[in-house]
């Protein structure tokens, strides 16, 4: 675990100095919120589920931008070989990269979600603590599958194009559940009515952290 935290520290430091991933994630997500607001018709009151859909499209599309960089930056100057040669287990690298992606998503969301309330109305902010729980669980699911796929596409010729093509089909259920649960939150639906979907979101994260942990080794060694 200490090794993983060292890699996380390294990546956060690099990001803090270069600021390339976070800035493009936040900018793109913000842009999507505006574009989708225009697409929905300016000045129209949206119902909860449509608003939830807009929020999640912005978050997921912006997160893919950051995800592509998480492993492809290690390919530059063959840094990944150095990482693999160092006495760090591949599983630790996977855990570290998942955490880095998770943190990037949280940082982007800290900007995007308030921006969402500004554009679409703060009546959606009533159940903020529960929204935070949903967001963190979806981040977990997205980061675990995403990091595994990011390792795959970083080894191909068409990294940036291929990643969403591979990732989106697999995370479609996650997005559908996130939209449904967030929509229920926005519509003041009582907890017991959407709790079972929340469990499926959590299960997605836990299942794929296991799958990723087992399979990452095979992917990264092919480099």
């Amino acid at each position: 675990m200490r090794d993983a935290l060292l890699i996380v520290k390294k990546d956060l430091l690099t990001e803090f100095r270069k600021k390339e991933s976070i800035v493009s994630m936040v900018f793109f997500g913000f842009l999507l919120l505006v574009i989708l607001n225009i697409a929905m018709g300016i000045g129209r009151e949206l119902d909860g589920e449509i608003a939830a859909g807009i929020l999640w499209v912005s978050i997921i599309f912006s997160a893919v931008l950051g995800l592509g960089r998480v492993l492809s930056q290690e390919k530059e100057n063959r840094c990944i070989d150095g990482l693999l040669l160092s006495p760090v287990e591949p599983e630790q690298i996977y855990a570290a990269k998942t955490m880095v992606n998770f943190i990037f998503m949280v940082v982007a969301e800290v900007v995007l979600i308030p921006a969402f309330f500004v554009f679409y109305g703060d009546r959606f902010a009533r159940h903020l603590p529960m929204l935070v729980v949903v967001v963190l669980l979806v981040n977990l699911g997205f980061s675990t599958v995403g990091t595994l796929f990011s390792a795959i596409t970083a080894g191909t010729r068409r990294n940036e194009v291929l990643l969403p093509l591979l990732l989106f089909p697999v995370i479609t259920p996650l997005i559908a559940l996130a939209v449904k649960v967030t929509g229920s939150l926005f519509e003041d639906v009582p907890y017991r009515e959407y709790s079972s979907w929340l469990y499926v979101i959590a299960a997605f994260g836990f299942i794929f952290s296991g799958v990723g942990y087992l399979l990452f080794d095979y992917v990264i060694k092919e480099g």
């Binding site: 599958v145 595994l148 796929f149 795959i152 080894g155 191909t156 010729r157 068409r158 291929l162 093509l165 591979l166 989106f168 089909p169 697999v170 479609t172 259920p173 996650l174 559908a176 559940l177 449904k180 979907w197 499926v200 299960a203 997605f204 299942i207 794929f208 799958v211 399979l215 095979y218 992917v219 092919e222 480099g223």
Partner: protein
Amino acid sequence: MDNGFRSRVLPVVVGLLFLSAIYTIFFYAPTERVMGIVQKIFYVHLSMAFTAFLSFFVAFVCGILYLTKKDIKWDVYGSSSVEIGVVFISLTLMSGVLWARPIWNTWWTWDPRLTTALILWFIYVSYLILRTSVEQEGKRAAYCAVLAIVGFVDVPIVFMSARIWRTIHPVVIRSDSIDMEPSMILTLVITLAAFLSLWFLLFKLKTSVALTCKRIRFLENKMEGGDL
């Protein structure tokens, strides 16, 4: 590689099974009272859906075997299986759409089974796209094995999450009973056997072509190296 007699018998068996499937579907099985002639698409639809799931399961198992054994033949088996599976899942979706229009009065609905089939289609088409994007054999095999495993693990989650929407898909076969006439069951069994034998034939042809390709490439490399 395989003996000539068997490779000539199998296509004949597949052909005979398909002829008997067509005969039983149109002349033996009774016409359903409410849905009429449209119901006959069910035999083909269910058989193709089953073969598609079988293909993806085979790819999942081959993926695990490739990663543990590192033998390239498991990659050949897995990728051939996915290619056939994509054809069958596409046909399943199309035949379902054709049935749904007259019966449900809509081409498409977000029912768990339909949604699962559609997302499966997306996952395994992305598998085929991934195959064209990697040139090195070992790397491509490992990546595709991982995707086949992840895709298959995703199936139950897709199905569970799609229950958000209410189901209107008919449930004909439950774990304890089958809501069908005996003659309809027999028709279904024959059609299913026809499609399974077709799957096996395609799988054999596809893998033997792929293995022959590998052998030719190996020999070509050897000749260029001047060893022969």
